[in-house]
């Protein structure tokens, strides 16, 4: 008989040893002597948190009831480990490069650091894990009760609940001490891992010891065991295909998704290469753990009384044989299984609760403008510790309220189905770029709902939460909604049924929603980093590092500032470093220069981030940066196009505005022109009409009659001349004038013009006939018209006492210049700009009858002859220069 106090003492001693181991491991790690702690075998042993008390005790009971079906629970993880190259390797790499802290963090981070997803996963994990923790507490208290039942009545064991409370409290203390020493939950918990590894050895050793005792101590060797198996109630293969496949799949999924498994597999992984060792070593551990399960079950069924609980065979079998030491060892094995699970699970859950629920709420409650950096550390630790305590308290409460018993025993698989809901989001997240957060959230929620409705809630028993009627007939009598026969498919095992529908609908909605909605930018970036994790974290080695970086930098730079500029920049830098080629060493100076160059294109912050990411080997892959660079370039091109387009629009608008202004000006010109013509026509007509009326007066004297008739005559001529001029101008302006080109002597032409001007003799004309002797090929009459006009103008406007007009001729190259310079006071600069306009009037009012069309006509004629006419200022009087090509034909061609 084992005295209860002795049992407690052994427990406490064992726990004390675990404390010491954990403490020693922490010390060694802190001292930097952690080489041994980082062994792949420690990693492998830490994975044994998969084997909880449920598997330690329960596997034998499971085998006693269902034969070999219990193996599915081990085959699933075996498949995952054997296939590590396909899945775990990537998961671990992502976990390390993204500094993932939990399964909730993985899913939240992958889908754009979504708070909502983090909360969903955390809550589901808490709901799924709390009963599991309760199950561990139950197994420990049950094992206590076994010893109590065996002992004399000399000692009374405390109530089971109190035992569970003590266990929960002790576990909380251990977990808080060793699980929250580091703020960074991504750092390894060396003490915890070491303690778990020790416990892994203890439980394996205990189970094998019991197995060896059973096989060789009771059954008489392997042959004897085989005979007894054949003779047992479980002699025949009785596993249905659905459960064989379904449960194997389920255990594989749970192995990946269970918070505690994710913690040891991914978060506590110190070196990716440990995976390759664990890939075979952990399946070997599982094999060893399950090797003696069947013999123990069979012998237990045979040896122990019919009503014995097969879940406790591991304990009761040695006890019944009087092997108290072995029973003690077995008890410690079960205790180890339970405690290691609870410790790791509560660390994992506490991390999730603290990071995804407590901290977001706490941060939101903070005043926005207060800097929180100083406070976060302590808040984080307190929240993590409180979360551990809360998780264990929840487990204890669940244990107390459920009352233990069979309902709790079934919770293992139920819990598996719950956490397996993470699988689609997890796998989709690391393999499928199109997966997005909305799909993950919808899939998770639907899967969790189906799990709760079809498995979790019914597990409390008919009438507990879901009514019997609902279970039998469905809600509101809708048959196809019966929790355990969804869509009318009956006869499925409840667990397989729940796995099938929850996983199927979870996956379908996840994929479907992902296909029809669009991820945001952060999700896309995170997705790229997760899926391309192997391309980005290529470890660079030795001297190659700098070249690889420089090349990446060059490629990136080319995409941002263009090939030629980037190559020149790099070649210059390489030159300065005394190197040939385009790849300089990424020295700080060069990087600073490059950053500045890039900043010109993409902005300082982006440039810094890009260069930093490439050089710092941070968790963004080069490919991602290239993608960003490409996008930037596209955006720049697009904005350039936009700019070009808006430039074009502005140009068009300017043209339109100019055209409009021109039209307005033309319209005004037309108005002005018309009103001027009106004025020029109406003025003589007024005189004509007035005198025509006056002439009708019979009392008019003869002289007056004659004078008035003369006025009428002159005004008529003036009118005619005006009309002639207008027609002339119109023809000239339209360019429809027919020129009559002929060769003639310039001197003769000037002679003719002077005589045609019909001068009154007041004006003296000075010429140099010798220079006028040259042949000019032009329209002689038209040119004469110009000359006549100029001579007449001089006569009209020259205000000198002795008016003189000097006509001089000279040749400048091919151009013939004829100047008409008088000795008057000339024209003011302001006037000289408008004198060639139609109807121009000089500001001093000097005007002698003409309508102001003469010079306009002159200009049109000269232009038609291929030359030009200009007013020459500064000649001591009014001066006009007519420039003509020697041969007008040249100009006409």
């Amino acid at each position: 008989m084992v005295p209860f106090n002795f049992l407690v003492a052994v427990c406490l001693g064992y726990v004390a040893i675990l404390f010491l181991v954990a403490f020693w491991a922490e010390r060694r790690a802190a001292a930097g002597k952690d080489g041994w702690l980082r062994s792949p075998y420690i990693y492998t042993l830490s994975l044994s948190v998969y084997c909880t008390a449920w598997t330690f005790y329960g596997a034998v009971g499971y085998a006693a009831r269902s034969g070999l079906e219990f193996l599915t629970i081990y085959l699933g993880p075996t498949a995952i480990m054997i296939g590590w190259w396909l899945l775990l390797r990537k998961l671990v790499r992502i976990g390390q490069s993204q500094r993932i802290t939990s399964v909730a963090d993985l899913i939240s981070s992958r889908f754009g650091k979504s708070t909502v997803l983090g909360v969903i996963v955390t809550l589901l994990a808490v709901v799924g894990t709390t009963p599991y923790i309760a199950l561990q507490l139950q197994s420990v208290t049950l094992s206590f009760s076994v010893f109590a039942a065996q002992s004399s009545e000399a000692w009374t064991p405390p109530s089971l609940n109190a035992t569970a409370l003590w266990v929960a409290g002790g576990l909380a203390a251990f977990t808080i001490i060793f699980g929250t020493r580091k703020i960074d939950s991504n750092e390894r918990h060396h003490g915890v891992v070491m303690a778990i590894a020790v416990e892994a050895v203890v439980k394996l050793f205990a189970l094998i010891a019991v197995g060896v005792f059973v096989v060789w101590g009771i059954a008489g060797g392997v042959g004897g065991v085989m005979e007894r198996i054949d003779a047992s109630p479980i002699a025949q293969w009785q596993v249905t295909n659905g459960r064989w496949i379904g449960l194997t799949f389920l255990s594989a999924a749970a192995f990946l998704c269970l918070p505690r498994m994710f913690q040891v597999l991914v978060v506590e992984n110190a070196d990716e290469r440990h995976l390759s060792t664990a890939s075979w070593a952990f399946p070997a551990y599982l094999l060893a753990m399950s090797l003696f399960v069947l013999p123990i079950a069979v012998i237990g069924l045979e040896v122990l009384p019919a009503g014995a609980n097969p879940d406790l065979f591991v304990l009761t079998l040695p006890l019944s044989m009087g092997q108290e030491g072995l029973a003690m060892l077995s008890f410690l094995g079960g205790f180890s299984s339970a405690t290691s699970m609870v410790i790791v699970a509560s660390i994992a859950l506490a991390t999730m609760v603290s990071n995804h629920i407590v901290m977001p709420i706490w941060l939101r409650l903070q005043p926005k403008d207060v800097s929180v950096s100083g406070d976060v550390r302590s808040v984080l630790i307190v929240s993590r510790r409180a979360s551990i305590a809360a998780v264990l308290a929840l487990g204890y409460m669940y244990y107390v309220m459920s009352g233990g018993g069979a309902a709790l025993a079934a919770i293992g698989l139920i819990s598996f189905v719950g956490v397996a809901q993470f699988l689609p989001a997890m796998l989709g997240g690391i393999f499928w770029r199109g997966a997005n957060g909305r799909g993950a959230a919808v899939g998770l929620l639907l899967g969790a709902a189906i799990w709760a409705y079809s498995l979790f809630l019914p597990s409390f028993g008919a009438g507990a939460i879901l009514s019997e009627q609902l279970l039998a007939e469905g809600p509101w009598g809708v048959g196809w909604l019966r929790p355990q026969a969804l869509f009318g498919i009956e006869g499925l095992d409840p667990v397989v049924h729940a796995v099938l529908w929850s996983m199927l609908l979870n996956t379908v909605t996840f994929v479907g929603v992902s296909l029809f909605t669009f991820p945001n930018a952060l999700e896309r970036l995170q997705g790229a980093q997760f899926i391309n994790v192997f391309h980005l974290s290529r470890e660079t080695k030795g001297w190659q590092a700098s070249r690889v970086e420089s090349e990446d930098l060059l490629i990136m730079a080319q995409r941002i500032i263009g090939g030629r500029d980037a190559q020149r920049l790099f070649a210059d830098a390489a030159n300065k470093q005394g190197k040939v080629g385009y790849l300089p060493d990424p020295t700080p100076e060069f990087l600073e220069k490059l950053e500045r160059e890039l900043a010109g294109s993409v902005g300082a912050a982006t440039a810094h981030a890009m260069v930093g990411q490439i050089v710092g080997r941070a968790s963004v892959s080069v490919e991602d940066l290239m993608a960003v660079a490409d996008e930037t370039q596209q955006m720049m091109e697009y904005s350039n196009q936009l700019e070009a387009k808006s430039d074009e629009l502005a140009r068009t608008a300017r043209k339109l505005r100019e055209a409009n202004e021109k039209l307005t000006a033309l319209s005004e010109q037309k108005d002005t022109f018309l009103s001027q013509i009106s004025h020029e026509l109406r003025t003589p007509m007024t005189s004509i009409r007035a005198f025509a009326e006056i002439l009708q007066d019979p009392s008019l004297e003869h002289d007056d009659t004659k004078r008035y008739a003369d006025i009428i005559f002159r005004e008529t001529i003036r009118l005619t001349r005006l009309l002639d001029d207008l027609l002339d101008l119109s023809v000239l302006e339209n360019g429809t004038v027919a020129l009559d080109i002929s060769a003639g002597d310039l001197g003769a032409l000037i002679d003719r013009s002077i005589s045609a001007a019909a001068l009154t003799g007041r004006l003296t004309i000075k010429r140099n006939p010798a220079r006028e002797v040259r042949v000019i090929e032009t329209d002689q009459d038209r040119l004469a018209q110009v000359f006549i006009n100029l001579i007449k103008n001089a006569e009209k406007y020259c205000d000198a006492d002795k008016p003189e007009l000097k006509i001089s001729v000279r040749s400048v190259g091919d151009v013939l210049q004829v100047d008409f310079v008088d000795n008057g006071k000339g024209i003011s600069p302001a006037d000289s700009e408008v004198i060639f306009e139609k109807f121009s009037r000089l500001s001093d009012g000097a005007r002698a009858g003409g309508a102001g069309l003469g010079l306009a006509i002159c200009r049109e004629i000269v232009l038609n002859l291929g030359g030009e006419i200009a007013y020459l200022p500064g000649q001591g009087g009014g001066a006009f220069r007519v420039s003509l090509p020697s041969r007008v034909a040249l100009a006409a061609e």
């Binding site: 193996l71 296939g83 047992s232 479980i234 390759s276």
Partner: protein, 87 residues
Amino acid sequence: MAERPKISFFLPQDGFRRRRLADAARILPVLGGILMMIPMLWGVDQGGEADPAKTSNAAVYVFCVWAGVIIAAAMLAPFLARIEDED
């Protein structure tokens, strides 16, 4: 001791071998899965037409396959650990 062979281990001609090793790592779980599905063919006692397999034999089969897969994985593991990532 791990550093030097890491550089010299995979000469260019080893690329082929590396890829085959990675293939093996991918095929192994599939092979194990198929072998583990064979128990499904043994059938469950459904009226005695065919005798279901004996648990003892089944256990021997399953544990042998299991052990075989573990040994194969153990043989592959040291090589896979050295392969640089390529997918």
